[in-house]
Amino acid sequence: MSGFFDIPSDLQHSYLGLIGLHLREALIPVLVGLLVSLPIAQLCVRFRWLYPPVLGVTTVLYAVPSLAFFVFLIDYTGQSETTVMIPLAVYSLVVLVPAIVDGVRSVPPETLAAATAMGLGAVRRYFQVQLPIAVPAIIAGLRVATVSSISLVSIGMLIGNQGALGNLLNDANIYHRPELAVNAVLTMAALAILADAALVLVRRVLTPWMPRKGAAR
C-alpha cells in the first residue's frame, strides 16, 4: 500500500500534523462545551423548571445540520477552524448538560444535608461536595462527547479543507486514492479509542473513592 501516508500537498500538513490539528479541532469544542455546561447544569439543578426547556434547546441545536451552522457562521468567522469548532461545541451540550445534571443530582440527599448542617455554604457545597461526586457522570458524558466530536470534525472539509483528517476523505475522492479514505477512517478510530482510554484513566485517578469490582474491603 504505497502512499498510505503520502498526504497530498494541498492539505499543507504532514500526517502527524493532521492528527494534531484533528485533535485540536475535536477537543477544544468539548472543553468549551464542558465550561459552558457546568453553569447551565447548575442552574438546571437549582431551578428544576429550567431543565426541560434547556434540554429541548440543546436537542434542537443538535438537530441543526452543521452545514447550516457553517453558512451562518462563515460571515463572521470565515473558512476557519473556529467555524468548525463552534457547532461542535454546541453539539456537545446535548450530552454534557444532562450528564452533569444527573451527576449532581446523584449526590445523596443525606450527604447534602450533612454538608449544609456542617456549615458549608452553597459555593463550598458545589465545589467540595456536588462537583467531585458528579465526576464519574461528567466523565461518562465527556467520553461520548469526545468520541462523537472526533468523528464530526471531518465535516470541516466542507468549508475548504478545515476537516483535518476528514480532508483525506475528500482528497481520496479527488485524487482517486481510496487508501487515503481508509487511512482517515482508521486514524480517527484509533484517536477515538485512545481519547476514550485517556478519559477512563483520568476518571480512575480522580475517583479513588469509587467501589471497584473485585476490590477487597
Binding site: E110, T111, A113, A114, M118, G119, I133, P211
Partner: protein, 378 residues
C-alpha cells in the same frame, strides 16, 4: 440551654409539621425526641440549626435568639449526625472527620491530628483513616458520622435517627458507645428516634411527640413509664412498660444469700451444712467462683458432682450495677426461680429468690409512689 418557645412550622404546602412546641432542653444531657414517623421530629431538630426556619415562635441558645449569629457560624457550633451517616463518599475517613475543623480555618495537620484523636474516641481503628466510606461497614460509617460531628468540639450535638439503619446488635454497641462518650464529654445532645426503647435507654429527658407536631409528654424516662400522660403515650410505650420500668430500679438493695452457694470441690460436710431444709437448691460454682448450675442438695454427692446434670442458672446479673429487671430476668430464666448475682468479673456474690425480688420491686414502687405524691403536692 436550648429553649424552644412555642414554635410552629408550616411548610409551603400547608402541612403543619410542628405545632406550638415548647421545650427546654437542659445542658450537658441527652434529650430525646420520640414519636411516630411524620410527627415532626426531624423538622424540630432542623429548626435548631436553622436548616428549617420556624413559621412562628423562637429558639434561644443560652438565652440568645439563634437568628442573632450568621447561620453557618451557628451550624459549625452544632454537630449533626444522621441516618446512613451522610458521609462524603469522595473523601477519606480522616478527611471526612476533619471537615469542620478545616472550615474553621485550622491547619491541615492540626485538623488531621484532631480527627485521628476522634477516631480513637469513637472506637475506630487508625488503620481505617485512609479508607473511603464504601470500604466501611454501616456501623463503622455511623461511628465516623459521630466523630465528624464531634470534630470541632461543638457544645451541641443534633442526632437524627443516627442508629436506625444498622442491625440491632450493632445498634446496641453504638448506643452504649454514645453513653460512654457522653459521660466523658458532657455535650448537650438532642437525639431523634422513633424507637421508644432507644429513647428510654438514652434519654435523660424524653419528649414524646404525636402526629401533627404536638408535644404529648416531656419527662424523664422512669416517669414516662410510671405515669404516661395519656392514652397515646401509654400506647406508644407498648405493653410491657411495667417490666421495662424495672430497669430504673437498682439491684443494689437486693439482699443476696451466699449460703446456698458451694464450690464444685465441696466436701460432704460442707454440702450437708449448706443443704439445710429451707434451701431447695444449691448453686455450684467452679473453683474460680463462677456459676456452673443448680442442684438439689440430695442429688449432690461430694467429689462426684456431675456438672452436665445441673439445672441452668439463667443469666446472672451484676449486683449493684444491673437493674431489678436483670435480676428478675435471671430468676425467670432459671427453672429454680432463683437469680444469680455476680460481681464485675463474673464471680458469684450470692443468690436471690423470685419472692425476694418481688418484695424489692414492691418496695421500689412504694418509694416511687411517695415521690409522685410529693410532686403532686408541690
Amino acid at each position: 440551654m436550648i429553649r424552644i418557645d412555642s414554635v410552629t412550622k408550616r411548610y409551603p404546602d400547608g402541612t403543619v409539621a410542628v405545632d406550638r412546641l415548647s421545650l427546654e432542653i437542659p445542658d450537658r444531657s441527652i434529650t430525646v425526641l420520640v414519636g411516630p414517623s411524620g410527627c415532626g421530629k426531624t423538622t424540630t431538630l432542623r429548626m435548631i440549626n436553622r436548616m428549617v426556619e420556624p413559621s412562628e415562635g423562637s429558639i434561644l441558645l443560652d438565652g440568645v435568639d439563634i437568628q442573632a449569629q450568621p447561620v453557618n457560624t451557628l451550624r459549625r457550633s452544632m454537630g449533626y449526625v444522621i441516618q446512613n451517616a451522610g458521609l462524603f463518599q469522595h473523601r477519606t475517613i480522616i478527611d471526612n472527620i476533619a471537615t469542620v475543623p478545616r472550615l474553621l480555618g485550622w491547619s491541615k495537620e492540626r485538623s488531621r491530628a484532631r480527627a485521628a484523636e476522634l477516631m480513637e474516641r469513637v472506637g475506630l481503628d487508625s488503620s481505617l483513616a485512609r479508607r473511603y466510606p464504601y470500604q466501611l461497614s454501616g456501623g463503622q460509617q455511623q461511628r465516623v458520622g459521630v466523630a465528624r460531628a464531634l470534630a470541632a468540639d461543638p457544645p451541641v450535638l443534633l442526632m437524627d435517627e443516627p442508629f436506625s439503619a444498622v442491625d440491632p446488635v450493632v445498634r446496641k454497641g453504638l448506643q452504649d458507645e454514645l453513653l460512654r462518650i457522653q459521660e466523658e464529654l458532657g455535650k448537650t445532645i438532642v437525639f431523634v428516634t422513633h424507637d421508644i426503647d432507644e429513647a428510654i435507654k438514652l434519654g435523660t429527658m424524653v419528649a414524646v411527640m404525636r402526629t401533627g407536631g404536638k408535644l404529648a409528654q416531656f419527662a424523664p424516662p422512669a416517669e414516662l413509664l410510671s405515669a404516661p400522660a395519656d392514652d397515646f403515650v401509654e400506647d406508644f410505650l407498648g405493653t410491657d412498660r411495667g417490666i421495662r420500668r424495672l430497669s430504673f430500679f437498682p439491684s443494689g438493695a437486693l439482699k443476696l444469700e451466699s449460703g446456698p452457694v458451694v464450690p464444685v470441690d465441696a466436701d460432704a460436710k460442707k454440702l450437708a451444712a449448706r443443704g439445710s431444709a429451707d434451701v431447695p437448691y444449691l448453686l455450684v460454682t467452679d473453683l474460680d467462683g463462677k456459676p456452673l448450675g443448680w442442684g438439689a442438695p440430695q442429688d449432690l454427692t461430694a467429689g462426684e458432682i456431675a456438672v452436665g446434670q445441673l439445672l441452668p442458672y439463667g443469666r446472672p446479673f451484676v449486683h449493684g450495677k444491673d437493674s431489678l429487671r436483670a435480676a428478675l430476668d435471671g430468676a425467670v430464666l432459671s427453672p429454680t426461680g432463683w437469680s444469680v448475682g455476680v460481681d464485675g468479673t463474673g464471680r458469684v456474690v450470692g443468690v436471690v429468690s423470685q419472692a425476694v425480688i418481688a418484695e424489692a420491686i414492691r418496695n421500689a414502687h412504694a418509694e416511687g409512689r411517695t415521690d409522685d405524691e410529693a410532686k403532686a403536692v408541690r
